[in-house]
Symmetry: D2
Amino acid sequence: MARLEKIGCFGLTEPLVGSGTGGGLTTTAKRDGDTWILNGEKRWIGNATWCDVSIIWARDVADNQVRGFIIENKNTPGFSVDKIEHKIALKVVQNGHITMKDCRVADANRLTGGQGSFRDTARVLRMTRYFVGWEATGCQMGAYENALAYAQNRLQFGKPIGSFQMIQDLIARMLANITACQCMLLRLADLDDEGKMQDYHASLSKAFCTAKMRETVAWARELFGGNGIVVDYNVARFFADSEALYSYEGTFQMQNLIVGKAVTGLSAFV
Amino acid sequence: MARLEKIGCFGLTEPLVGSGTGGGLTTTAKRDGDTWILNGEKRWIGNATWCDVSIIWARDVADNQVRGFIIENKNTPGFSVDKIEHKIALKVVQNGHITMKDCRVADANRLTGGQGSFRDTARVLRMTRYFVGWEATGCQMGAYENALAYAQNRLQFGKPIGSFQMIQDLIARMLANITACQCMLLRLADLDDEGKMQDYHASLSKAFCTAKMRETVAWARELFGGNGIVVDYNVARFFADSEALYSYEGTFQMQNLIVGKAVTGLSAFV
Amino acid sequence: MARLEKIGCFGLTEPLVGSGTGGGLTTTAKRDGDTWILNGEKRWIGNATWCDVSIIWARDVADNQVRGFIIENKNTPGFSVDKIEHKIALKVVQNGHITMKDCRVADANRLTGGQGSFRDTARVLRMTRYFVGWEATGCQMGAYENALAYAQNRLQFGKPIGSFQMIQDLIARMLANITACQCMLLRLADLDDEGKMQDYHASLSKAFCTAKMRETVAWARELFGGNGIVVDYNVARFFADSEALYSYEGTFQMQNLIVGKAVTGLSAFV
Amino acid sequence: MARLEKIGCFGLTEPLVGSGTGGGLTTTAKRDGDTWILNGEKRWIGNATWCDVSIIWARDVADNQVRGFIIENKNTPGFSVDKIEHKIALKVVQNGHITMKDCRVADANRLTGGQGSFRDTARVLRMTRYFVGWEATGCQMGAYENALAYAQNRLQFGKPIGSFQMIQDLIARMLANITACQCMLLRLADLDDEGKMQDYHASLSKAFCTAKMRETVAWARELFGGNGIVVDYNVARFFADSEALYSYEGTFQMQNLIVGKAVTGLSAFV
């Protein structure tokens, strides 16, 4: 995968296990000599519909530990993927619903790097949450740039709508949100370079940037009036996509509970 | 139309004239003996793609007054309608983009009831804005009912997510918004019955109910996590539809300026 | 008290027990023949500094039930009240910090009407929460009326500031909030007349009206610019007072948990 | 002043001229040989009640240009200062209401550095607006730190309130706001070091940081329940002070119009 010769996907979320991954995966792995037998379902797995290999996280029935396995999507009997249809957001990404029925995987395909355990998923989530911050910033920037241009060109009452106070208010608020997200992530990039980024840093920035994004894209969308609900003006797409960014890689609520635990020293997940 | 034997549509908004209808329509009407010749475009006209007759508002080139005309969609040379594609909201309604090239209408089809002038459109808008309040309330109710049921049934960490404080907070806020909208509109219905509903009443309720709707459907959508972005769970549709309701029949900004003018006695439209 | 010959106060909240009254009062009552001996502290008790009698809620050490007692403030040895100083809000009300050291109360002064138990406090809270809704509405109305007059009279750039879009936006939002609160409470008044008002109705309206009040008074305060921070212009007082209304008779969080429990059937208090 | 031997104040705002300083000061300066005669009033001038010298901005009646003058507070006949009373915010600062009746100032005390004109005030405002961003950040930090400690120590239902989801939600949102403000201002400090900070940078950060501060201190205040309205717990002071910070050195609305003009190229002040 690192040579980009094969495309992979990351199979953690399940139909019935989203926020509560820490509370128990339902996909099981059972050792049988040199192979493992996997059973269960994974949902929302980006790229799963067409990629070559999947990393599947499953609970070892022997010791209840979560282990990761690399599965060849196309050559593994019992492994099937359905494309999730009727999405309103992030249509550019295909998400798969994976079903595994007695899928056999060689023990050699068990992940043993890192700590070879569930804690590795936390390392992955830390990075993906940090990345979603950037996605959310880019999503806002796209909405803002389209909105600014529209405000400068769209005339009502014989004037560009950008010359009205209420429209300038929306534009200034958007730009402030974007600038705040950029500056926060720039600082987090430094922390990451220095090897100091913690889970709660990533959670705080994921929650903040996606929450501000939601405000920004809504203001941009409304600035377009009716034209804001057709995809042709771009802003409708940014508006809709932001809902996926807001929820994936951990909801706003979960991020806040991760931050809350870090600063109070008290856990409130359950 | 009143006998429901023919379906009509209301052609006021134009591609370049939305909020600024008071500042001048670009569609023109020119008298030619017993007929009028109409030229121009109308946009976002609900039902226009398939209905029988259209009410078209146009500016009389002779005296600059706005007049209404009834046009037979299918029998009027020069009259054509394109369906607006790529909508993200309110897909259940077909919106048309009407183009009129030298359309001839008999003078008998000119609207002469009411005041026979542009002021009649204000009467129509007052009622449609009031109705949008109810639509916005119904849209929230749909989102809420789906969200409540999901919260009671969806398990994470072995418990219904509805048993977590942060989810109850969302639910209680949703219900408060809905109750507020219902109570406001109930009172406005009384005012309407008494013949006392004014434009600014309708504007205030349209602005308030659609703004609260936007909050409510966003909370409902996020409560569903990833499942909130597929239409199958309903909430995605309420979420997307609400953007149309928020903007049509006059934007939030325009409603607030109508209210603002009524209470301050000062106009700030331009 | 009903003849208004004596003024009373309602002693439920304690220094260490606010939201968690249901979880246990620390003030104790111990029966001793025909009298009870009360020990403990009560805090935030409105009027306590000067009124004639206090209703004190305490936990019976014998059976852990909460019972109410009427105490004569001035004739009861061991009963003392300190005025709570340094308040920023609702200075018009004096709040007392009551200390009881071996206060003796005749058993005849034990409340036996109602259910003679802690459930009676819920009935009181239902009504006071409903009343706070009205207080919050009145507080907003005061802020709004002052703000509207200021907007019409204060000139900047040679024009009344009420003629600027951004100011009209604030005014229209304020008025919508107020109207929503009025309509909700009007409906609740009907429910109360019909004997149908439940605890969760009062909680929903208390949470909604005080949350909208907080928005409204903040918009009003900012409309006054610098003059909004001196009491002379009235709005500063409404702004500050609203914080007391927002928190007393149960916090926003507690009201939402009461509503949440009612609609989900799931308790999330602890 | 630069040697800190004398303390000064900055007299720009007037009783009737706040946001609209660009539209015309009412304080006048009239040349009379080697001296100038000043008449008018200044309001909200920090330190004015006790400082040594005041910088007064006035409109030259000869050419309508705004000029700055240094006045010795205590030795200038006709110069008087009243302390502004009844403030609810930033009581630590004394604000003066200055009245000037035929105050004579030597021409040597006219400011001639910089551009010797009204544009110099913009340079001052740029820096003070940037500084208010830091003040707003510090104000939030104070509120947050007190709130966090309270959440960890205050018990309800037998547990620290910081262990409840709704409280953790408030805490995480506060911390995200603070972090965003810190990161934005850190970046702005770099721009300032590089000599690249523009007026609209300062305006954007002033608007953003003070708006987030308002959210943060309100969340902190409500976390304290009733104790949040007495100054003894600190948070009430941060809550009240933030209103001064939000409005001074230019309102939220003015900052947004400055940003809006910079990015749209369209002025919407009037």
